[in-house]
Subunit: 241 residues, 2 copies
C-alpha cells in the first residue's frame, strides 16, 4: 500500500519544486545527500533523480550536480483552459446547461481508461457550453469519485467542472488526443449543427498522484472553434529529430 522509497524521494523533491521553494536553476541535493537525509542507498536516490530528469523536471551535470530545470513553454492548446474564461476573455457571454448527470457503473472500456483493477462507480456529466447563446462546446465527462468525492454535489452554474476539478485536485499529468469526427445525431441536436459539419474532438485524461481523476471529451463544431497555441521553444530544444 505504501509507496516505494524512490517514489517518496521523487515526491519530496517535486513538492519543493511545485511549492516554489526550489526555483529553476537551483541546485537540488546530491545523491549522497539524499542517502544521508532519507537513509537510503545511493542507487535508490539515483533512480529518483534519474526519473525526474527523464520527466523533464531536473537536469544533471556530471561532476557538478543536479539542478531544477526551466519549465518548458506549454501551449494553450495543451493547457487546462476553462471555456468560461476563454469566452469571458473575448468579452462574450458564457452560458451552460447540464444535459445529463448520473452515477454509473464503469464499463470495461472505462475501467481500462481509468486504470482501475475492477469496475467501480463513476460520475457522468454531459454539459453544453454556449457563447452568446450559440453552442460551441459539448462536454462529456467521467469523474473518479475516489479522487473528487464531492464533484456531483456541485451546481455548475458559477464554476465549470474544469474549474472545480483544477481547484479541488492537484493535477500532475495530462494526456490530450485531438481528432476530427462527424457528430452523432445526439451531438448534432445538442450543438445545433448539421449532419455534415465536422467537429474537433479533444479527448483529455488527467492524473493526480498516479490515479486518473477524470476523462473528458470536448466536442467543438469546426465552423465555430479551432484550437490554437503559440510558444517559444525551450533553449535546449524539445524538438526531436
Amino acid at each position: 500500500m505504501t509507496a516505494p522509497l524512490y517514489a517518496k524521494v521523487k515526491e519530496h523533491i517535486l513538492g519543493h519544486i511545485r511549492s516554489g521553494a526550489w526555483t529553476p536553476g537551483m541546485r537540488v541535493p546530491s545523491e549522497n545527500e539524499l542517502v544521508e537525509t532519507f537513509s537510503i542507498s545511493r542507487m535508490t536516490a539515483n533512480r529518483a533523480l534519474r526519473e525526474l530528469t527523464a520527466d523533464g523536471f531536473l537536469s544533471r551535470v556530471p561532476g557538478v550536480g543536479t539542478f531544477v530545470k526551466e519549465p518548458p513553454a506549454r501551449s494553450s492548446l495543451v493547457e487546462l483552459r476553462n471555456i468560461a474564461d476563454e469566452i469571458a476573455t473575448r468579452g462574450h457571454r458564457h452560458t451552460a446547461h447540464i444535459e445529463t448527470r448520473e452515477t454509473i457503473e464503469a464499463s470495461a472500456a472505462l475501467t481500462e481508461e481509468f486504470e482501475l483493477r475492477l469496475p467501480a462507480k463513476l460520475f457522468h456529466l454531459v454539459m453544453v457550453h454556449s457563447e452568446n447563446g450559440v453552442p460551441v462546446q459539448l462536454e462529456e465527462r467521467y469523474v473518479n469519485p475516489f479522487a473528487a468525492p464531492h464533484f456531483n454535489e456541485q451546481d455548475f452554474s458559477a464554476v465549470t467542472p474544469t474549474g472545480y476539478l483544477v481547484a479541488a485536485v492537484p493535477v500532475d499529468e495530462l494526456e490530450h488526443t485531438v481528432e476530427a469526427v462527424m457528430p452523432t445525431p445526439d451531438q448534432q441536436a445538442l450543438l445545433d449543427i448539421g449532419e455534415h459539419e465536422p467537429c474537433l474532438a479533444l479527448h483529455r485524461r488527467s492524473w493526480s498522484k498516479g490515479h486518473v481523476v477524470t476523462v473528458v471529451t470536448l466536442t467543438y463544431p469546426a465552423s465555430r472553434y479551432a484550437l490554437h497555441s503559440r510558444y517559444k521553444t525551450s533553449p535546449s530544444g524539445t524538438l526531436s529529430q
Copy 2:
C-alpha cells in the same frame, strides 16, 4: 564512446519491434533470459525493460511477463516530430512522393502570414506521406528562401522537409492551430478518401530569429490519425484556471 549496456539492450529490443519481427502482444525475453543472452546482471536488464515501458513500447505484468505494446497511430502535438520517424517507430514503412514543387510569388495572404513587408518569392512544396502504402498525411508547405536558401535543392527521399528544416534552421518559436475540415476534391484524391471523411488540419508557423521560416498545413484523414500529447505538468502550474 561505446553505448552503455542497458542502451544496447534497449536498441536490440527496439530493433526487433521496429523491424516487425516482434509484433504487438508478443512476449519479449524476461529479465533472466536477457541476463543469459547478453551476460549482464539482472538490474541492467531490468533498467532496459523499465525504460522501454516508460517510453510506451512495452507493458509489464508482474508474475507473467513483458509484452510489446500496441502502437497508437498518433502524431505528437507539442513536439516538432518527423512523420517518417513516427511511422518507423511503429515498425511500419514510410513512403512519400512529391506532388508539387515550385517557386512562387507570395500572394497577399502569404505575404501577411510570412510577416513580409513586400511580396517576395517563396518555395512551395506539396507532398503525400504514406504508412505501409496508405496515405496518412498531406503536407502543403511554403518556405522562406532567405531562411532556408537550399531547401529547394533537396530531394526529400531520405530526409523529410521537416527533418531538413529542423536540422538546418534553429527554430525558436512555433504556432499551431488545429481544426477539423472537410477535404477539398484535390485533397480527397491525394489522400484517397471519400468526400464525407473529415480531416484534421494542423496549421503550423515556425520562426527563427524573428523571421517566419515556414508555413505548413498538415492534413490527416480522421480515420487514420489523431494528434496526441502526454506530459507531466510543470511545477508552478501552467494550469490556468
